[in-house]
């Protein structure tokens, strides 16, 4: 145990969080591609010298990275063990998702930090690069059956040896991307962020001394562990199960179960995903690090005050079955990892809500709906409009769910309609809330959205959709109802049609004047619908977000008396 005084600890906690935040800020400012600069699809932190455990992580990066980065560091620690001791000024680089989690767009840089000649901790930077070769620009290839079809795969290699950058590695990377300027700009930004981290750590350690800072890091992990155990102790002991399904893997139209058993005993929790589907052919597999990190994201949403370090997970045993799609081995395709981890979060919420209904929100819309329209303009120039679309959040004990929010694993905003219309030959006929999409309950879920997009270009357009929740609706908790499922339609001379794979589609051709229509799920409800205030039901009907008959079905007719 450390004997650091509590005040110094509080000050150091803030200082170290700030180092990670400053690394985030440095990359956001200097990155070339908007996925990092605007959507903040990046993350930085400090990691344990021997275990790679997360010590401190920035607050502004993407939530899913908070848990996944320690795997990247561990992969480098393992690699270093094969090749000898790390030296000051070394930097490793890789994007292999099976070692580092998430997907191949995420380029990870890991750098040992030395204090007085000894390895003190690791610094790491991850950022989503625009393109790394593979079968589709931007690497979201729904037809990929292995990693090679998704992107160029780089295992951990030493980019910098004792401060000397190996230009050859940069040359290899730049030869394997469609956007070398963007990639090199992002790489420079990440190197800059690591440099800044080293400078700030030097300042901090010269001010407080290595022993004090090391003691603080240990104390902060212990404290996170204590906090987590205190939270778990306050919950009842027991075992709760939940299951849900992915629509399909995009190749074979078979539902894929995701199952969890959540067990609490005393101050420990087990999350066991036994019974989840085996590895599948299409890109909804995920790598083991992604699965473990996802458990962390779900836990932190349930207990938002917990700090972002590995101490939180000491009391939690995450069991991922071998051979399942949650631990798919190289070279299984993992490009659609977002859909699978959203479903993992949903089942964790459903199981946890049985233990602690007030602590857990109902399921959010549960799919990122990656929709792309692409074609050629009359002058031959190609265009690709690629975006993710929003849906409703789950209701909570406090309030109705948020209408049209972003996915729980992300904090990215949607581009404005006018920016899309200015950049691409499309017109949104509708950009609206989706009536009757919310799960009923004492508090209803947030509303999903309707986007109807018409092609203006005379050459028409090709459409591809990577979505989920087309067959299995987001669930309510504490007795709350299900939301509406995801619905996708495309216009033909015979009227509106739906795709065979329901939430996934590729190679669809639209003519000028035809449209696609995406109706996204809402969020699940919280509590029994019979407990909802009649005035709230009447208000939703008056506002046109709940049909009168749907209201009668879900809530009975009492609301009709509450109309003002």
């Amino acid at each position: 145990m450390s004997d650091i005084d509590p005040i110094t600890l509080a000050v150091l906690a803030g200082r170290m969080e700030q180092i990670a935040d400053e690394m985030d800020a440095t990359l956001f400012r200097s990155a070339f591609n908007p996925i990092i600069a605007e959507a903040h699809d990046a993350s930085h932190g400090l990691y344990h010298a021997t275990t790679g455990d997360t010590l401190v992580q920035g607050k502004s990066g993407l939530p899913i990275f908070v848990g996944v980065m320690s795997f990247a560091v561990r992969a480098v620690i393992d690699k270093v063990a094969e090749t000898g001791e790390p030296q000051n000024g070394d930097i490793w680089i890789f994007n292999d998702a099976h070692l580092g989690g998430t997907h191949l767009n995420d380029m990870r840089l890991v750098r040992p930090y030395f204090h007085e000649g000894k390895l003190f901790c690791w610094l790491a930077s991850v950022g989503h690069w625009h393109d790394l070769g593979g079968g589709a620009p931007g690497n979201y290839n729904p037809a990929a059956r292995d990693a090679f079809q998704e992107a160029f795969v780089l295992p951990p290699v030493r980019l910098s040896r004792a401060g000397e950058i190996d230009r050859g590695i940069i040359d290899i990377l730049m030869r394997n991307t469609r956007l070398p300027q963007s990639a090199e700009g992002d790489l420079n930004g990440q190197l800059g962020a690591l440099d800044l981290g080293v400078r700030r750590m030097d300042e901090l350690l010269s001010e407080y001394g290595g022993d004090t800072v090391a003691a603080a890091l240990e104390a902060l992990s212990d404290r996170a562990d204590t906090l987590m155990r205190a939270e778990l102790t306050a919950l009842p002991d027991g075992r709760w199960e939940a299951e849900d399904f992915l629509d399909n893997d995009g190749i074979t139209d078979t539902p894929l179960p995701i199952r969890v058993a959540l067990e609490i005993s005393g101050d420990r929790m087990v999350l066991d995903f036994a019974g989840s589907a085996p590895r599948c052919e299409g890109p909804v597999n995920i790598a083991l690090p992604t699965a473990v990190a996802t458990a962390y994201v779900a836990i932190k949403h349930i207990f938002p005050a917990l700090p972002a370090n590995a101490g939180v997970m000491r009391a939690i045993d995450v069991r991922i079955p071998e051979g399942s799609l949650l631990a798919a081995e190289f070279p299984a395709p993992v490009g659609g990892y977002t859909e699978t981890i959203l479903r993992m979060i949903d089942v964790i919420f459903c199981a946890a809500s049985q233990a602690a209904p007030d602590r857990v929100v109902a399921n959010a819309y549960g799919t990122i709906n990656a929709l792309s329209l692409a074609g050629r303009r009359s002058d031959g120039r190609p265009w690709v409009m690629f975006s993710f679309y929003g849906g409703g959040h789950g209701a909570s004990v406090e309030s109705d769910g948020l209408n049209h929010g972003n996915a729980p694993i992300s904090t990215a905003t949607i581009p404005p309609m006018e920016i899309l219309e200015a950049a691409y030959p499309v017109m949104f006929r509708q950009w609206a809330l989706r009536p009757d999409s919310a799960g009923a309950g004492r508090h209803r879920g947030g509303l999903g959205a309707i986007y109807e997009i018409e092609v203006l270009e005379e050459n028409g357009a090709e459409v591809f959709l990577f979505g989920e929740r087309g067959r299995f609706a987001p669930k309510g908790v504490a007795g709350g109802g299900e939301a509406a499922v995801n619905a996708f339609f495309y216009e033909t001379p015979e009227g509106w049609q739906t795709p065979a794979m329901v939430s996934k589609m590729r190679g669809l051709t639209l003519r000028q004047g035809q449209a696609v229509r995406l109706e996204t799920p809402g969020g699940g409800g919280y509590g029994s619908a019979s407990a909802r205030a009649a005035a709230d039901v009447a208000r939703d009907v008056a506002r046109g977000v709940l049909g009168a008959e749907a209201a009668d079905r879900a809530y009975g007719t009492a609301w009709r008396e509450a109309r003002t």
Partner: protein, 690 residues
């Protein structure tokens, strides 16, 4: 000008500050009166009345107001409706698909206009400006009548792509103005002709939401001033740090969203520049927050937009102010893991710190300062209370911090300040580093009531070389009102490849902005020392969404503007982009997104020497000694009457300089010096500024 005075009035949450400048006589006076609620005009007029008997002798009244901010935060604006494009009724409610907090997934959002008062009409303009569906004017009239019957006091017209071609909006507002009983009809293309529908619609709707309230308030003030004999100009500070005439403020109240704080930053920049410090970081410590702003080379940073609250986006240029929840009223608490935290919960000014004796029992930052003797319990600021309750403050610190951490009262109080200071220092580091500035080359300028208590900590924690405490830190915003320039900002989305930019079209927009800006300056009764224009293009490479603001050279002669040629614009972009990102994209295609223009009338500054102290001696300024706790010991500490200190006085810490609304703490090891304007410069004792 002789005999005429200029008055700046800043209405804050707790106090209304009045700054009266009599340049002829070379004097300035300040007054502080309680802010009146809900109608702030009472305190406003009371404050002026205390200092000026004859309003006909006033040459200008300039007002920094929180009326708009409060109406937004408290959702006390008018009942309004909107009329919008078919299919887009919910844009205001859908926002940009964000959420209130990263973790927890809780919270919902109600826009200021509920769905039943958002009416769609047939109309559609495409991104290229082509009108695909002409507006159905009869449907607009029907919608307008429906909203009137529903009791709406203002209406906004929000049409897709109106930035590219405002024709449908123009026809709609014409029809509405013919039937609407008041002037509160606005179109998004009038308020913000800029691409991005949510930001434009939100800004326009919030403007409509504020119009009845704010214009009513300003009208009451103006009428009261006029009936008191006031015959000159009444002006309002905007969020961009410039002033506008009252008619513009009534039509564009959304521009006052950060009026008061912006005025404070303007004054801070002026004072620091006069004192020889062009690079400063300001820190305004209030009851619930610590607001930080950065001025580099005498220029404050402008942000393009802000969120007043979740989902309430206002997009108008505004002085960039970063806020953290560490104010005097922020509550100190120990969490389940044994870590001491400050805020974000705050006791604010009501009930306020425990020492105020108004019912709060949880210790605050101010309570720690009281317990350590840094605030004089017998002379509370503002004069509302007779004496601060030191014992209650100590008991609260014992119970909530001392006992759980095993610390004595003074240790616990020091701990609270250390953690609070560390958070404040963190905010300073982040605002400077995020923009690539090294905080060490900046001076720190505290203002507001509490900032000057924490100066030493900022020097120690951030490594800043020196602090400069203005002579009247408690009325900085009111002083800023008096010196702020008149300024109008304009924006117009162009959205073309740089190579396709039509020089004639650019010149037309330049002239439109220039003519409207100059017309406002011409109409002003105020004297301007100079008129300036600033023109920028928001540009990026095709494929990027992040634009950089590229200053372009525009020659203005005899009211005629000459647009730069394409090669000049390309060079200007390259220079700006290289400075921001280090390197260019060799094969990138440049795109021009927006034209931004500012027309500025430079108002005369006054000689800060006016505020300088009269003759005096150090000995005469010494009031008494008091025990004050620093580090781990009580120190016998000299207490000075700050305003009685002569120019050139040097005081080694520990010392406290008191004035009616502020306490300046000089920590052991620091030395305070009074400069020729009466500012206090605080540095390390060995004179080492680095």
């Amino acid at each position: 000008m002789s005999g005429k005075v200029t008055i700046g009035v800043d209405v804050g949450g707790t106090f209304t500050d009045v700054f009266v400048l009599d340049e002829g006589a070379g004097t300035a006076r300040v007054a502080k009166v309680p802010t009146t609620r809900p109608d702030q005009s009472g305190g406003f007029l009371d404050g002026i009345g205390r200092e000026v008997a004859d309003l006909s002798q006033v040459s200008a009244v300039i007002h920094g107001t929180t009326a708009g901010t409060n109406a937004l935060l408290e959702r006390k604006g008018a009942r309004i409706g909107i009329i919008t494009t078919q299919g887009l009724r919910d844009v205001l409610e859908m926002r940009r698909r964000d959420r209130p907090r990263t973790w927890g997934l809780r919270g919902d959002f109600d826009p200021v206009v509920p769905r039943e008062r958002r009416i769609e009409v047939p109309e559609r303009t495409l991104a290229c400006g082509t009108i695909r569906v002409p507006v159905d004017v009869e449907a607009v009239r029907r919608a307008g009548r429906q909203l009137l019957e529903d009791g709406c006091a203002a209406v906004a017209v929000l049409f897709a792509n109106a930035y590219a071609n405002p024709e449908n909006e123009v026809r709609a507002v014409e029809a509405l103005r013919a039937l609407w009983p008041n002037p509160h009809v606005s179109a998004s293309s009038e308020i913000l002709p800029e691409i991005r529908e949510f930001e434009r619609f939100s800004t326009t709707a919030l403007n409509a939401y504020l119009q009845p309230e704010v214009s009513g308030y300003l009208k009451r003030l103006e009428d009261a001033l006029r009936s008191g004999g006031f015959g000159s100009e009444f002006m309002i500070v905007q969020s961009n740090g410039g002033v506008m005439d009252v008619a513009t403020a009534c039509a564009r109240p959304v521009r006052t969203a950060l009026s008061g704080p912006a005025a404070g930053v303007i004054a801070a920049g002026f004072i620091a520049a006069e004192a020889g410090f062009p690079d400063i970081i300001t820190g305004d410590m209030g009851g619930t927050s610590f607001d930080v702003s950065l001025i580099a080379g005498g220029r404050s940073m402008l942000a393009p937009e802000t969120s007043i609250d979740f989902g309430m986006v206002v997009r108008t240029p505004m002085i960039e102010i970063t806020t953290i929840g560490a104010g005097g009223g922020s509550i100190a608490w120990v969490d389940g893991g044994g870590l001491l935290n400050i805020g974000p919960e705050s006791a604010g000014s009501t009930p306020g710190p425990v020492a105020y004796g108004q019912g709060n029992t949880r210790p605050t930052v101010t309570d720690a300062n009281v317990v350590l003797g840094r605030i004089d319990p017998d002379n509370p600021i503002g004069g509302k209370l007779d004496r601060l309750d030191v014992e209650a403050a100590g008991a609260a610190i014992d119970a909530h911090v001392g006992a759980p951490l095993g610390l004595s009262t003074t240790q616990a109080a020091e701990a609270i300040l250390r953690v609070a200071n560390s958070r404040m220092a963190g905010a300073i580091r982040l605002v400077s580093i995020e923009r690539g500035f090294d905080p060490k080359r900046f001076a720190f300028m505290p203002f507001g009531g509490g900032g000057a208590l924490h100066t030493g900590a900022m020097l120690a924690d951030v490594g800043i070389g020196r602090a400069i405490v203005p002579r009247y830190p408690g009325v900085t915003s009111a002083m800023g009102c008096v010196i702020a320039d008149m300024r109008q900002d304009f924006v117009q989305t162009l959205n073309v490849l740089a190579g396709d930019l039509d020089a004639g079209r650019l010149t037309d927009f330049l002239h439109d902005h220039l003519d409207r800006g100059m017309a406002m300056l011409d109409a002003a009764a105020t004297r301007f020392e100079a008129r300036d224009t600033v023109f920028e293009l928001d540009m990026a490479y095709v494929g990027q969404t992040h634009t950089v603001a590229v200053p372009i050279p525009v020659r203005v002669t005899d009211g005629r503007a000459e647009a730069p040629d394409a090669a000049t614009i390309a060079r200007a972009f390259d220079d700006t982009y290289r400075a921001a990102y280090g390197r260019l994209l060799p094969k990138g295609t440049r795109r021009v997104m927006n034209l931004r223009s500012a027309v500025i009338g430079r108002r005369p500054k006054f000689d800060l020497g006016t505020l300088a102290p009269a003759a005096g001696t150090l000995a005469a300024a010494l009031r008494r000694h008091r025990q004050v706790h620093f580090g781990d010991a009580w120190h016998e500490t000299a207490i000075y009457d700050r305003l009685a200190l002569p120019v050139g006085a040097e005081i080694a810490g520990p010392a406290i300089l008191e004035q009616p609304d502020t306490t300046v703490l000089v920590d052991p090891g620091l030395v305070a010096r009074v400069d020729r304007f009466g500012n206090t410069i605080i540095e390390r004792r060995n004179g080492d500024g680095a």
